[in-house]
């Protein structure tokens, strides 16, 4: 037997005793991300959570704002096989990308997390907390508003998914109930959002004004004209918003973003880019160019034409609105312009529509008056249409307003929803692509959705 220094034995035991720190060794928290337990613990995280919702909105609107709002309507034409052709020819299938609502529900999920968790890190009634929740609710409302307009009845989910065992196979909710929730969320936002951020954030995040403006769009969709007018008045009188003063400013509103006319736009920059370039201005391959009908529908002398598309060519290859007058495919500019979802001219014309719907000479006159500054800026005469002129030119005052919207708001993602909202989609698109069935006005539900949820059935027209 060798002579052993028993200290060695103790050393060995000491090494084995390292095992006592197992728990701390195994307790590894993420370094470059948060675990479910470690997030929504303080006010900075609450803000970061809200920015994360806008981040999803960026992805949602990236290209789809145009597929949804313009792709099925009469202002565009396309040479691009695939999605643009399917939409324009009314041959929608469940596998096209714009039929996929994933991004909208991802946005809603992030908003639900924020709405549920933010109150916990602020003291009750805290204004900062409330305005953050207000923003989250406004974005949630915006998302559901798109969902209803595109798919009709959709699942209404107001709680975040945080653990296994929650009901994941949800069914659809009646679209009117969904819109009730949209209104409720927006009303909360109107009350709790900030009056203004005093920065460019006023254009790209929800404040009272933009929440109100979105409410106008929702009321108009629901044909609640009185409410629409009241909300629109709040927007129009809001000192944050004023019309772009001239055509140069009008052009910059899209190419430079953050104008005073803008009420809510989705922000993009050099690195967080969008699909505008692919949609509108990438040479021979651009998704959309102006349709012949659209080019022919301008009134004489309309100064906007040269800002909207490449007027140097008989068959324009590019839409210049957004990317900027004279944009060339040869220059590798990034697609970084903000996508404007709501602006003052839109709200003014919606109010005009509402007034017209209310009827009565005063209302109709006031409606046409709302168009005046817009027509004046575009250099069209007469600036102020009389009811008789409107009727003689467009058949009705409503049509005159819609036409003005069609030119003024072209390619901003309004046209299709305007046609559906005013019941003119079939009469307008029927001659172009044979659209004839009211059940065809909503999109099919993506196969990726149906395959994963047995409780969701395809929309009737697409079965």
């Amino acid at each position: 037997m060798k002579k052993i220094n028993y200290n060695i034995f103790i050393l060995g035991l000491a090494l084995l005793s390292l095992s006592s720190c197992v728990n701390s060794l195994l307790d590894k928290k993420p370094i470059s991300s948060f675990s479910a337990e470690s997030f929504y613990k303080n006010q900075d995280q609450a803000k970061a959570g809200v920015y994360g919702i806008y981040n999803s909105l960026q992805s949602t609107m990236h290209t789809n704002f145009s597929f949804w709002g313009e792709g099925r309507a009469d202002n565009v034409k396309t040479k691009h096989a695939g999605e643009p052709t399917f939409l324009l020819n009314n041959t929608l299938t469940a596998s096209i990308s714009s039929a996929d609502w994933t991004n909208l529900y991802t946005t809603i999920s992030r908003a639900n997390y924020a709405i549920k968790n933010i109150p916990g890190v602020f003291s009750e009634g805290d204004a900062t907390g409330n305005q953050l929740v207000g923003q989250a609710k406004a974005i949630r409302a915006l998302s559901y508003f798109y969902l209803v307009r595109i798919w009709g009845d959709v699942p209404l989910i107001l709680e975040p998914y945080t653990q296994a065992g929650q009901d994941i196979f949800v069914s659809r909710t009646n679209s009117e109930l969904v819109l009730d929730q949209v209104e409720a969320d927006l009303k909360f936002a109107v009350v709790n959002c900030v009056e203004k951020f005093n920065s460019t954030n006023d254009r790209i995040m929800f404040n009272k004004g933009s929440a109100n403006a979105l409410l106008v769009q929702v009321y108009m969709w629901r044909k609640k004209y009185t409410e629409a007018i009241a909300a629109a008045d709040l927007v129009i009188s809001n000192p944050l918003y004023s019309l772009a003063v001239d055509m140069v400013a009008w052009g910059k509103m899209f190419s430079d973003s953050y104008s005073n006319e803008s009420i809510f736009e989705v922000g993009y920059n050099e690195t967080q880019t969008n699909g505008l370039r692919v949609l509108y201005a990438i040479g021979s391959d651009s998704h959309y160019t102006p349709s012949l009908n659209f080019m022919a529908s301008f009134e004489a002398g309309d100064l906007r034409r040269a800002y909207i598309y490449d007027v140097t060519q008989a068959d324009p290859k590019a839409i210049w609105k957004y990317l900027g007058k004279g944009v060339s495919d040869q220059i590798a500019t990034t697609s970084k312009q903000n996508i404007i979802l709501i602006r003052l001219a839109d709200i003014m014309m919606l109010k005009a529509e509402a007034l017209n719907k209310m009827g009565g000479t005063t209302n109709v006159t006031n409606a046409l008056k709302l168009l005046e500054p817009i027509r004046k800026r575009a250099g069209i005469t007469p600036n102020l249409l009389t009811e008789a002129q409107a009727i003689s030119m467009y058949g009705s005052v409503e049509n005159a307003i819609l036409h003005e919207r069609s030119i003024e708001l072209c390619y901003e993602g309004h046209r299709w929803f305007d046609l559906v909202r005013t019941g003119k989609a079939i009469s307008t698109m029927g001659p172009i692509n044979g659209l004839s069935n009211a059940k065809n006005l909503i999109w099919p539900i993506s196969t990726t959705t149906i395959d994963k949820n047995p409780n969701i059935t395809q929309n009737e027209f697409y079965r």
Binding site: I4, F9, L15, V22, L26, K28, P30, S56, Y105
Partner: protein, 1037 residues
């Protein structure tokens, strides 16, 4: 044959050897001749138990004299007084005795059970091969030295039963995929655990900038093959469960060389080689290509019923434009002879108290694709010191630096080269009239310009250090503790100059820096004691290991000049600014108990408890038990008559192992940062927490049989196994209304079962030596169950070519069944239509598709299983011959029964986007009614999808037999080199990948472009394999 007095036993042995090998034993010894100066020596040779040994060769060294002992062990020989006699016999150690030493007349030979007594490295220790109860395969340094290999993983290819090596590509320094007994995981990787000198090492250090090529770098690149003493593969659960949650894919133990007591031995190895592509594939020249494209245009007009001919693009017909006036053979331009050199030096030795082994090596290897090359420098010091008579301390340190100029070869990205070489129109000019490369034309980048002008450089520095102390408290109780670190700093630089981009002035660059740091601490007691015939062993230990990774990177674009390629030259730093860190930890307790009685009945049990930071909080610890038993029935009394069987052992084992390769934080749920809104930092939920998340569990049963015949002349190892893996980690899709795409869950089950045979024979053992090693393994893989809610139409589609379906193996190809080409329009009697019931009718020259659902048209419901990537069996055959100083080693490798989806063939047989095509298509395309051919008519844009469908036409038999290496070596005679103070001097020439017998039509059947095991067996244009000739020199001082 002048010697016939063999007794029965010898006859039997000879007879059997004759039958088995069809070789007759040669005994060339002469017992005659004597002179007057000689003395007569006689005696009896016995074994250690005093039993006479007959048939012993007694040779007088330096004289042509020999005799053989008779049945009583008696011999007599007349030799010169000062001679030395050598006694040799199969199964015994050779003994050399001088005449004076033989005065007693008694010679005792020791049994040479060297093969069986050989120590095999096992988890936390070593074991005699004869005592193994599990299934372990080993490769020793001798086998490694005999093949001109550059990395450790290729060394295993074809050498070990049950281990399948899938070469992903032939690029220098690239990774190789290893499957031990089949793929047992869907998503969590099938890479075995690598343990170097007892320390589990990091193997996830793959490339960070893989744009088009899925493959990374070899994780074992830091080891020079010259430093390897042995490689052991722990295959069954009994052997590997001591590594618990990381052992489900098998464990590979690598031991590096150590010094031995004695004077310093210096060995120098150097080699030079040249490689060339093994084969080229046919392409059209400019004239043929133009004709064929135009044919495609005209067929298109006919198909569409156009009366006016479609105008042909200028790129096709305008042969005067300098951009289209070429007649290039892109393969010749790209593939060149690649040179390589290797140099290594090792100094090893030791004193009574200290042993050392120091080595350094350098490898400089070019690839056969222009501008791809790999350089590696390694340095290693292994030292051990006996501090006292009961304390040993030691350290193993290695440093490796490698630089890898990489090429994007595989895939269909616009930077991928191999498909581009085969499909780029020959008319496209290589360069402009001014000599600069034509970079981009009609959506195609110039592959030569990509290779020559782009940068994709990977630089890695890795340090692996391990310090240990071993305390022997008594003869039977030891304690060992080690601390090791493994650190790798990897940097990747990428640059694409303006010349290869379609946009004017548009160049891009990227840089990534990653640090991988691992520390591990292992502490364990080992116990070994014998009580008479009872041997008891034990192991008890604790280990902890922690991994940390930190990645930093930037992307840049619009650099001021193509000459400044570092990111400071970028006009814009773009999107992908990266800086992330992550880590994980493992803490484990493990133990072993072993018992054997007389080495006849052996038993062993292992248990490991692994706690991993990756597991859900409800499943923090996993327990992995195993038990095994063996019965050496050759030691039983009733076995005595079977003298020709020296050793026979039956093994049985059962055990569980795990796969803990889950993402580090998945179980905790994730909120991701970087979900920013402009400059406002945003965070968003990304993964739901799953507190129950745990490892994948593999339960394995193994039955083995080891037989050794004729004193080690014939060894036979057989294993049969069943390996069931359950709780597979799968990303179960969630309805998108949840806001999450999926949640990782433990679902599903896979089974692998198989047979392994391995035979080692020594056919000739005299002056002419011939030994053979043969192994073959059969594995059958089957998906037993999948989560129901992820199945669409009863299966899961993985990528374009594969599905996952219950009852089918992983790697099943799914597509349309090609049945030939309609010779006449009227051959389509059923008026089968394209895509819909109102689609176009298939005509003469279109593909005949199998209408699976019999609905009269061919749509995606007509897809079916068209092949699978799993081989029926794989294996290798090594033959080694030597005569005097010459030796020859021939290694054949084979693989049978697997299919390859040859997607390159699709591109080579489709004029889609003006592709160049194979000459087979050009000559054999259907052209007129009645043409009987296998190639459809060529139609521009492929309107009937004759080519574009994923189809059985591109599924090929991937079976092959390869002459993998042939090495011819000459050892200079000792006498000659002793004069120049050398111990040994060896010269060899060697060829690798010399011949391939296969029906596969691509570059090489040993191909696997996509790294995911779910998408095995696709040839997507990988970097081709090459044939290498080498010349080398080993010098020992």
């Amino acid at each position: 044959m002048n010697y016939f007095n063999l007794n029965k036993q010898k006859l039997l042995i000879s007879f059997c050897i004759c039958i088995i090998f069809s070789i007759s034993q040669a005994f060339t010894n002469s017992a005659v001749a004597q002179t007057s100066q000689n003395v007569t020596v006689s005696g009896i040779v016995t074994d250690e138990n005093n039993v006479p040994v007959m048939g012993v060769n007694v040779v007088a060294i330096g004289e042509k004299k020999a005799c053989i002992t008779d049945s009583k062990g008696f011999f007599t020989i007349q030799v010169a007084k000062n001679r030395i006699l050598a006694f040799s016999c199969l199964g015994y150690k050779t003994k050399e005795l001088s005449v004076t030493e033989l005065s007693s007349g008694k010679v005792i030979l020791q049994e040479d059970a060297s093969l069986l007594d050989e120590l095999v490295v096992v988890g936390y220790g070593t074991k005699r091969k004869r005592d193994l109860t599990g299934s372990i395969a080993s490769i020793n340094s001798k086998e490694l030295e005999n093949s001109p290999i550059k990395d450790v993983m290729t060394a295993m290819q074809g050498k070990v039963a049950g281990v399948q090596i899938l070469s992903s590509d032939g690029a220098p320094g690239s990774s190789i995929q290893i499957r031990v007994r089949g793929a047992s995981s869907l998503n969590s990787g099938n890479t075995p655990l690598y343990v170097v000198d007892g320390i589990p090492i990091e193997t996830t250090t793959t490339s960070l900038l893989n744009v088009d090529d899925e493959h990374g770098l070899s994780p074992l690149a830091f080891l020079s093959p010259g430093d390897i003493e042995s490689i052991e593969v722990l295959k069954d659960a009994a052997s590997s469960s001591i590594y618990g949650s990381r052992a489900a894919n098998g464990v590979v133990l690598i031991t590096t060389k150590r010094g031995k007591e004695g004077r310093a031995k210096i060995s120098v190895n150097t080699s030079y080689g040249v490689s060339n592509i093994t084969r080229r594939l046919s392409v059209l020249n400019s004239k043929q290509w133009r004709e064929f494209i135009i044919e495609g245009y005209r067929n298109y007009d006919t198909h569409m019923g156009l009366t006016k001919e479609t105008a042909i693009s200028n790129t096709v017909v305008d042969s005067l434009c300098p951009l289209n006036a070429g007649d290039e053979d892109w393969q010749s331009l790209m593939y060149n002879a690649a040179y390589e050199k290797q140099f290594g030096i090792n100094i090893a030795g030791g004193t009574k108290n200290m042993r050392y082994s120091l080595s350094t090596s350098y490898l400089d290897q070019e690839g056969i694709i222009r501008n791809s090359k790999y350089k590696r420098f390694t340095s290693r010091a292994n030292t051990e010191y006996d501090a006292t008579d009961y304390i040993k301390v030691g350290t193993n340190v290695s440093y490796t630096r490698s630089t890898n100029d990489r090429i994007s070869a595989g895939g269909m990205g616009n930077r991928s080269m191999v498909v581009a070489l085969l499909t780029r129109p020959p008319t496209y000019a290589l360069s402009y009239p001014d000599g600069s490369y034509l970079g981009y034309l009609n959506g195609k980048r110039n592959p030569i310009a990509l290779a020559e002008e782009c940068l994709h450089l990977n630089t890695s520095n890795r340090v692996n250090a391990n310090e240990y102390i071993e305390i022997s408290f008594t003869d039977w109780l030891k304690f060992k503790s080690s601390l090791s670190i493994d650190f790798e700093a990897m940097k990747e630089d990428e640059f694409f100059p303006t010349t290869v981009d379609y946009r004017v002035g548009y160049n891009t660059g990227a840089v990534r820096v990653a640090e991988y740091f691992t520390w591990a601490n292992e502490n364990y007691f080992t116990y070994n004691q014998s009580f008479g015939n009872h041997h008891v062993g034990g192991l008890l230990g604790f280990s902890q290991q922690e991994w940390k990774t930190d990645v930093t990177g930037l992307n840049g674009l619009t650099f001021a000049s193509d000459d400044i390629r570092t990111l400071n030259g970028a006009g814009t730093i773009s999107g992908q600014e990266v800086n992330v860190a992550y880590g994980h930890a493992l803490a484990s307790f493990f133990g072993r108990f072993s018992y054997d009685y007389k080495g006849k009945y052996l038993f062993e049990a292992n248990l490991r408890a692994d706690g991993s930071s990756r597991f859900g909080k409800n499943n923090k610890f996993g327990y992995f038990p195993s038990a095994s038993a063996a019965w050496r029935f050759s030691d039983e009394k009733w076995f005595k008559p079977f003298k020709f069987v020296n050793d026979a052992k039956l093994r049985l084992s059962i055990g569980q192992t795990g796969n803990e390769a889950i993402d580090n934080y998945t179980s905790q749920g994730t909120f991701l940062t970087g979900k920013n809104y402009l400059t406002n930092p945003g965070v968003a939920p990304y993964q739901m927490p799953n507190a129950d998340l745990s490892w994948e569990t593999t339960t394995q049963y193994n039955l083995g049989l080891d037989l050794s015949f004729f004193y080690g002349r014939l060894d036979f190892i057989f294993d049969a196994y069943i390996k069931n893996t359950s709780d597979l980690l799968y990303d179960v899709p969630m309805p998108n209304t949840t806001g999450f795409a999926s949640v990782i869950n433990n679902v599903g089950e896979i089974q692998n079962k198989g047979l392994e045979f391995s035979v080692n024979t020594k056919n000739f053992v005299k002056e002419f030596k011939w030994s053979t090693n043969f192994n073959i393994s059969f594995n059958s893989n089957k998906v037993l169950s999948l989560p129901k809610n992820v199945l669409v139409n009863g299966y899961i589609q993985n990528g374009s070519f594969h599905i996952l379906k219950e009852g089918e193996p992983v790697g099943t190809f799914f597509g349309y069944k090609y049945k030939g080409i309609y010779a006449y329009d009227t051959d389509n009697a059923n008026q089968l239509k394209h895509l819909t019931s109102t689609g176009k009718v298939f005509k003469g020259g279109d593909v005949i598709w199998e209408d699976i659902d019999k609905n009269g048209y061919i749509d995606q419901n007509d897809r079916t299983i068209i092949g699978n990537a799993q081989p029926l069996f794989t294996g290798g055959l090594t033959n080694e011959f030597s005569y005097k100083n010459f030796s020859l080693n021939l290694f054949l490798q084979f693989c049978y029964g697997n299919d390859i989806y040859n997607n390159v063939d699709y591109y080579r047989n489709s004029i889609f986007s003006y592709n160049n095509v194979s000459t087979e298509f050009y000559y054999n395309a259907w052209r007129k009614q009645g043409d009987i051919t296998e190639y459809p008519k060529v139609v521009r844009n492929d309107p009937m999808q004759n080519e574009a469908r994923v189809q059985s036409r591109w599924v090929e038999d991937g079976s092959y037999l390869k002459v993998k290496t042939l090495t011819f070596a000459y050892d200079f005679p000792r006498k000659m080199i002793e004069k120049i103070k050398l111990q040994n001097l060896r010269l060899y020439v060697s060829g690798s990948n010399l011949l391939t017998f296969t029906n596969y039509s691509g570059y090489d059947p040993d191909v696997n472009t996509l790294s995911s095991s779910l998408r095995q067996g696709v040839d997507y244009g990988s970097y081709p394999q090459s044939r290498t000739f080498m010349f080398g020199l080993n010098i020992g001082f």
